[in-house]
Amino acid sequence: MRITDERERRPPEHIFPPSATVLCVIAILCINAVAVLHEERFLSKIGWGVDQSVGGFGDEPGIKVQLMNLIRSVRTVMRVPLIGVNSVCIVLLLLFG
């Protein structure tokens, strides 16, 4: 009985924090997720379209406006490089698992 208690108390041997490759894949997936948000069909429907962001002219843009601008800029900038990055990622995952 004592031996099983000892083994349960220790963390399992194979637990390492996610490696660098896994982290890069996570980052690529997140950027993909931001890039596929559609302006008309989705963002405007929930009030996150960029045409709805021109608000007050004070010094406070606010988090929501910043987020909307960020999403729009990520979509504009990352569309084309994501094609290449995704292709490379797919090929590497196919080859090396």
Partner: protein, 305 residues
Amino acid sequence: MDYTAAQSGFRQQHNMRLRNSSVDRPDGSQLFDDTSAAVPGPEGAYRNQQAGPQAEGLPGHSFLSDPMSNLAVAYGSSLASQGREMVDKNLDRFIPISKLKYYFAVDTVYVGKKLGILVFPYMHKNWEVNYQQDIPVAPRFDVNAPDLYIPTMGFITYILVAGLALGTQNRFSPELLGVQASSALVWLIMEVLAVLLSLYLVTVNTDLTTIDLLAFSGYKYVGMIVGIVAGLLFGRPAYYLSLLWCCAAIFVFMIRTLRLKLLSEAAAEGKLVRGTRNQLRMYLTMSIAAAQPIFMYWLTYHLIR
């Protein structure tokens, strides 16, 4: 025969022949003759072999007296210097080398004091960075200035100590060192990117540069190393105790450092300033500081048995 062998450039054979010919000479002092004459090729080349690869300075080498080779050497060296200039110019565009030099301008006294503050920040009174005509003072002259020396050394030491810890549990293999290194590096980059993202979202006007954030995120390696070494020497309870101490120390350090940079003047002095903006900034400072202990635990607990 000697000359053609020399000019063909096959040095070993040339050398053998030189040694034989020097033994054959009755007067050994001929080896140290004046080499300004172009004719005595073998002696000049032999001295070149002795003195090392300084082909340009010594005249009278048979394979350099040829004007074509001279041209080739001059062209090669000009190409090399051009290439070096181009690399320097392009590298300076991506990685600001001159700015990086500021972060490595440290000395022993600074490193000692900074390490002390990182482990025991409770006695340090003045946390402000001194400026000198709008330029922050080099770390050598100001303990509060961020530097990159401690984070770099801490990172490398962390990888080595991780290898040591894995080795004591018979889990070590050389690939694991590379895996640990790249994993820790990518975690660091992700953390810096997350902090940059949150700083952008909260629209903080601050003079914190990316390299500053990299330096602050790198300071936690000191606490991690202390924790792992304590765990290796004295077992799991010592690991938990020392990690707890270092986590608290890094938390206080980060809060006191970031408070001056992120919050407005009044709030930084400790007065309660109402308003959503300052509240948001306070939450941001708290979350950045709270992320450090989490990462410290996350990156070390798999090393301690």
